[in-house]
């Protein structure tokens, strides 16, 4: 494997698989490297984001000279087109490619299927993107770890901030699980705060024209609009929000914006207050992350999106845990991950022992008034929860989470 060209290496390996694998996938393996599986969609709506996830993951391996425990290591990237494809490719990674652990899970449906398969195959699985609450909730298992902050927790973090704009909220949320979770939790929080609902709109997936929704919001005159739209739909909404002259008129808040979503909106239309896990230009980033952002910039000639960091940090956690465990044996890696900690200045992340959810403070960012750099959209407003001690609480108690590991 050539340093700096992981994609090519994968391709070459893939070609071998394609040509020879049908007959004999047991290609002579001279020095058996440590193999890590990467399970990320290569096509479909999510593909633009998985590109960053994968790049971050590869960068994490390159940082360590493509070695784990001093042995050569490599990544094997397979597609996750659908839950069934994901399940199968996961089996393939384990049985055919003999990987010792798997990173991936870009969509909630895929990740939920993968986590069940991971338990069945007894292979450590670190989910680097999906945000469905159940992954580390009632579906949790010993082999699955997850980075992304669950939807419910992010809502909880954003709500107090949004209340700062007023108590009359308008909800515009996706009409499927992601949006439904946001809607349910946010309404509850609003009720507790004694606010009123100006309106609720549930938006089907792949809505192309939001003007009718925006007209309704305009008429309802809320203090703040609370969004729960998923990737592409959010970009479209923000474009049209600006086009219909609403930018700056009514504040718009949403959880979990991806950098690629806001970049697709363009500087003219970008607008709003969001939560997110990481921002490349956050002055408070610890040196290690700053080094990562610089390395990414150098290699790909564009800033690292949050997804790149997510790929990087999950990969890093896995690699370091293997070293910690000094073994590629499944249970050892699981224990390694359970004890892994990333401690750099104010940022301290680790997976919670009893549900394997990473405890992590989220950022509140708002789009700059004037965007001069075509990448630099956000000002970091806060890091939530404000006190690190509240992390455990905000992520939920065992009773709330409902995770029972066998």
């Amino acid at each position: 494997m050539t340093i700096g060209m992981p994609r090519l290496a994968v391709t070459r390996r893939g070609a071998l698989l394609g040509a020879g694998a049908l007959a004999m996938p047991h290609i002579a393996r001279a020095a058996e490297p440590i193999r890590i599986g990467l399970l990320l969609a290569k096509t479909g709506q999510i593909a633009p984001q998985t590109e960053y996830l994968a790049q971050g993951t590869y960068l994490a391996l390159e940082e360590r000279g493509n070695k784990i425990m001093g042995q050569p290591a490599e990544l094997v990237w397979l597609d996750e087109p659908t839950p069934q494809g994901a399940t199968q490719n996961m089996q393939k990674l384990v049985q055919e490619n003999k990987v010792c652990a798997i990173l991936g899970g870009s969509l909630s449906s895929n990740a939920l299927a993968e986590e069940a398969t991971a338990a069945q195959l007894k292979v450590p699985f670190v989910c680097n993107n999906a945000a469905a609450t159940e992954i580390t909730g009632k579906n949790c298992n010993r082999y699955t770890f997850r980075l992304n902050t669950p939807v419910l927790v992010q809502s909880r973090m954003l709500a107090p901030y949004a209340l700062g704009y007023g108590k009359k909220w308008y909800f515009i949320t996706a009409s499927f699980a992601f949006g439904q979770d946001i809607l349910r939790s946010s309404r509850e929080l609003l009720k507790q705060a004694g606010g009123t609902e100006a309106g609720i709109d549930e938006v089907p997936l792949n809505t192309a024209d939001f003007s009718s929704f925006i007209l309704k919001i305009r008429q309802a005159k809320p203090d703040v609009v609370l969004g729960g739209l998923s990737a592409g739909d959010l970009s479209t909404f923000l474009k049209q929000w600006n086009e219909l002259g609403m930018k700056g008129k009514i504040p718009f808040c949403e959880i979990a914006i991806g950098d690629t979503d806001i970049w697709a909106v363009g500087p003219e239309a970008a607008n709003g207050v969001f939560t997110k896990l990481w921002w490349y230009n956050n002055p408070n980033n610890p040196p290690e992350e700053k080094a990562f952002a610089a390395a990414y910039m150098k290699k790909h000639n564009r800033p690292a999106a949050d997804k790149a960091w997510m790929g990087w940090v999950t990969a890093k956690s896995l690699f370091e845990s293997i070293e910690l465990a000094k073994s590629t044996e499944s249970m050892a890696i699981v224990e390694g991950l359970e004890n892994w900690k990333f401690n750099a200045g104010s940022a301290a992340y680790s997976y919670r022992k009893w549900d394997h959810q990473m405890l992590l403070r989220n950022l509140v960012v708002s789009v700059k008034e004037k965007i001069t750099d075509k990448w630099d959209y956000f000002d970091v407003k806060a890091s939530l929860p404000e006190k690190a001690e509240d992390l455990e609480k905000v992520y939920g108690t065992p009773e709330e989470i409902g995770c029972k590991m066998a």
């Binding site: 391709t11 893939g14 070609a15 698989l17 394609g18 694998a21 049908l22 007959a23 004999m24 996938p25 047991h26 290569k42 096509t43 593909a47 397979l78 597609d79 087109p81 659908t82 839950p83 069934q84 494809g85 399940t87 199968q88 490719n89 089996q91 393939k92 384990v94 049985q95 055919e96 969509l107 909630s108 449906s109 939920l112 299927a113 069940a116 069945q120 469905a132 159940e134 579906n139 009409s175 499927f176 699980a177 992601f178 439904q180 549930e202 089907p204 997936l205």
Partner: protein
């Protein structure tokens, strides 16, 4: 032995081989499990596509919904896999029945789009309804209490798939399954045999739903969960794509397709992020190169082109074939008419096709219905059988008014019909063609379980019918391999099979060679001794010789009814056939018959031209020459090949031999537009105006420099000037004819072909059109096709008379005009001394 040839054994063997291979290379077995599931999915879809000829683009609605049904059942009360599968299948059957009721009334593209719409609606619901379906997250944690390991479930899946496929194979051979293929080939014919085609399609659709649902439920267990992806439009076509790749006309097509599709996806997606970039061209090239799919491609390498939707071959021919006996006619009373038609009216817009039609048909008689082209004969048959509804009037058949019954009910009462245009099941064997018809009388006609080829009684009757028309030696041939004459005979055998009391035969002699005409004629005569027969036929000589009674239709009216001799001498009939001249109709007001100096420079020459349509030879060696500026008429009775000859000249029919030369250049294989550009324009039969264009636009589209100017045209047809902004569809018959001629003149042409320019026109209009033609004479050469010799002979220089695809007379128009006996022999309704000859 038969077990060894069972395709399900192949499926099991192929899947077992793949399983063994995967085991050896240590790859996860679930990929093969998935292939097995998609084989069943594809085969269910193929029951509609390959067997029934319906293309459901969104069969995924059953696949996807069943995955949820199984998952929900499993999380609920169903304690084990088998129960959950059963629940999912029942759910799918019900869902399919409900959807079928809504969309099966639509056909073709609308049907495909509607299935896709249902799949989309299901997707929207599943994606949104998080409480029930898990929404975007899907449902996880579906247990597999009985088949815990991947291997045990894999084996279970293969067993279930094999059982499912065996069931489909069984159904394909049952009377019901065999009907599906007949329906695919020719739905109208199936209907006219007395089957309720809606019910057949409905059942096929529901079975498809059940099979696809079973596959979907298996997928749930494989994944331990259910997800919405299968319902999205990107995946809606997966099963169809696989089936087409494998070959829709092969039972094992879905097997090869599923293997190729899933393995390619698996391997390509590991290599590249844009695997569709590689896969799509493979699919496209493959689909174009081998429309019959992978199995078709392999077959072609071995020189085979047959289909394998069912077993090859037909039941063994019995040692002794029972001679055919007309069935069901014992209760007929020869003295009372079996069919009584009173006051039947029908019009299409301004065109009256039936006007107060009265007709009685008695048993044990050969009753013929004749009349010139466009008299409304076939329309009348369509009204009798119910393909068309009459505007008013009664049709009493066997004592019951049937005017408001649907087609299949009328047929079941004892009507049977053969079609003017061959209406057989082209891809089925001759045996199967007849057997499907025989089956319509059997109480087992919709059986899903019995093997259709083991119903001995039906087989025996099929053989009798085949023997009756002399096709018993050709029984195993696919219909498409039979000659035109044999297909005609087959058509009759099919019509006989329904045990009809009344046989309606529509031009059974069309396109037959003389020897075949004798055979079929004798058969029809023989049938008249056991049935009532109503015959439409243009071979007047034979009609006169064979019939007991003749009714003549003209422009939708009955103009004569009686014994052959009476009818032949009826002046109205003579006028209808021979033209209006003798009855004192219009005469060219410009006297044109004066001898003119005609150029000897040929414009067009035909040398030994042979041409025809699929299988039937209509022109059998024609020689013809037209000189510059000459007017030639082409005469002959209906069906002798006049129109085909014009089509041969204009390049719209395939010529199997001979040469056509225009101005010294060979145009035999030229394309129609090239021929037109060389200077041949046509006024086609039925005018063929563009109904959605105005008069002016119809002219504009043809206009080219060198053709007639608009002023010239309006000078020739003053009426068109007034009508220039009217749409062609609103014109009357005469106006249409004028426009068609005018349109042909807009093209700079040296030769104009006119196909029955006077057909269906009122006498005053005939006069106008004729005057226009006379004015054109000498300016361009013309070929005028006519069957009224008297009308056309005065305005042309020379005449050709065709009889059965050959030139029977060639000479000056004057000579033919004078020779009444010759005219009568070649063209008229005169009883020839057939028996004496």
């Amino acid at each position: 032995m038969t077990l060894l040839r069972h395709p399900v054994l192949w499926i099991v063997l192929v899947l077992a081989a793949l399983t063994a291979l995967w085991h050896t290379i240590g790859a996860p077995i679930s990929l093969i499990t998935q292939i097995a599931i998609y084989v069943l999915y594809g085969a269910g879809v193929n029951l509609l596509v390959g067997y029934t000829g319906l293309v459901p683009f969104g069969a995924s609605v059953f696949f996807g919904c069943a995955t949820y049904a199984a998952a929900i059942a499993m999380r609920g009360a169903a304690g084990n896999e088998i129960t959950a599968l059963a629940i999912a299948v029942v759910f799918s059957l019900l869902l399919a029945a409900a959807i079928a009721l809504i969309i099966l009334r639509r056909r073709g593209l609308y049907f495909s789009l509607l299935t896709l719409a249902f799949s989309q609606i299901a997707f929207e619901i599943a994606f949104k309804w998080t409480d029930m379906t898990g929404g975007e997250n899907g449902l996880q944690g579906v247990p597999r209490p009985w088949f815990v390991t991947d291997w045990s479930f894999h084996i279970f899946t293969i067993v279930v798939v094999a059982l499912g496929m065996a069931l489909l194979w069984r159904i394909a051979h049952a009377p019901f399954g065999r009907l599906l293929q007949a329906l695919r080939d020719n739905e109208q014919r199936v209907q006219s045999l007395g089957y309720n085609t809606f019910r057949i399609k409905f059942e096929a659709f529901v079975i498809m739903g059940g099979v696809v649902g079973l596959a979907g439920a298996l997928l749930t267990f494989m994944l331990h969960g259910a997800y919405a992806d299968n319902l999205s439009w990107q995946h809606a076509g997966d099963s169809l794509l696989m089936t087409v790749m494998g070959g829709v006309h092969h039972f094992l097509g879905p097997l090869w397709g599923a293997i190729a599709f899933i393995l390619l996806e698996d391997r390509l997606s590991a290599i590249t992020e844009s695997w569709w970039l590689i896969f799509a061209p493979i699919v496209m090239v493959f689909a174009l190169a081998s429309p019959e799919g992978m199995q078709g491609l392999v077959f072609r390498l071995f020189g085979r082109d047959d289909w394998t939707l069912t077993r090859r071959g037909i039941p063994p021919r019995p040692a002794r074939i029972e001679p055919y006996r007309g069935g069901g006619s014992t209760d007929l009373d020869a003295t009372r008419p079996v069919l009584e038609v009173r006051g039947l009216h029908k019009r299409f817009g301004s065109l009256v096709v039936a006007q107060d039609v009265q007709l009685d048909v008695h048993p044990f008689r050969l009753h013929s219905l004749i009349g010139p082209n466009g008299a409304g004969k076939t329309t009348f048959f369509n009204m009798l059988t119910g393909l068309l509804r009459a505007d008013s009037g009664t049709i009493r058949f066997a004592g019951q008014d049937i005017a408001h019954l649907p087609v299949h009910r009328r047929i079941r009462l004892g009507l049977s019909r053969s079609f003017q245009i061959l209406s057989v099941f082209r891809t089925l064997t001759a045996f199967e063609n007849v057997r499907v018809a025989v089956q319509a009388q059997s109480p087992l006609q919709n059986s899903l379980w019995r093997d259709a080829y083991r119903l001995e009684e039906l087989n025996a009757r099929t053989w009798s019918l085949l023997a009756a028309v002399g096709l018993e030696d050709r029984a195993a041939e696919p219909c498409a391999n039979l000659s035109h004459g044999e297909q005609r005979l087959l058509e009759i055998a099919i019509s006989l099979a329904t045990d009809a009391r009344l046989l309606l035969l529509d031009e059974p002699l069309a396109g037959l060679a003389e020897a075949d005409r004798e055979v079929v004629g004798a058969l029809i005569r023989q049938l008249a001794s056991t049935h009532a027969v109503l015959l439409i036929e243009h071979d007047i000589d034979r009609v006169l010789a064979l019939s007991d009674r003749i009714t003549v239709l003209h422009q939708g009216r009955v103009i004569a009814d009686g014994k052959p001799a009476e009818v032949a001498n009826n002046p109205d009939v003579v006028t209808a056939y021979m033209g209006t001249a003798r009855a004192g109709g219009p005469q060219p007001s410009v006297h044109a018959a004066a001898p003119r100096a005609v150029s000897t420079q040929p414009v067009l020459q035909l040398e030994q031209v042979r041409a025809g349509y699929a299988g039937s030879q209509v022109l059998t060696g024609i020689d013809l020459v037209v000189h510059e500026g000459e007017a030639v008429t082409l005469l002959g009775r209906n069906g002798v090949g006049k129109t085909t000859m014009l089509r041969a000249i204009t390049g719209t029919v395939h010529k199997s031999a001979g040469r056509i030369v225009m101005d010294g250049a060979d145009i035999t294989q030229a394309r129609p537009y090239e021929i037109n550009r060389r200077g041949i324009s046509i006024v086609p039969e039925g005018r063929r105006l563009f109904p959605n264009l105005t008069v002016m636009e119809n002219l504009q589209i043809a206009a080219r420099p060198g053709g007639a100017s608009y002023d010239e045209i309006f000078g020739l047809f003053p009426k068109l000037r007034v009508l220039q902004r009217a749409r062609a569809e609103s014109l009357s018959g005469g106006e249409r004819q004028m426009l068609a001629i005018a349109r042909a003149l807009m093209v700079p042409s040296k030769l104009i072909l006119l196909d029955e320019p006077f057909e269906g026109l009122a006498p005053a209009i005939v006069q106008e059109v004729m005057d226009a033609l006379v004015r054109l004479r000498g300016r361009v050469a013309m070929i005028i096709v006519e069957h009224h010799a008297e009308t056309v002979l005065p305005i042309v220089d020379r005449a050709y008379v065709l009889v059965n695809g050959q030139v029977a007379y060639e000479g000056s128009a004057k000579a033919l005009e004078a020779d009444h006996a010759l005219q009568a022999r070649l063209l008229g309704v005169v009883q020839q001394e057939l028996t004496a000859a």
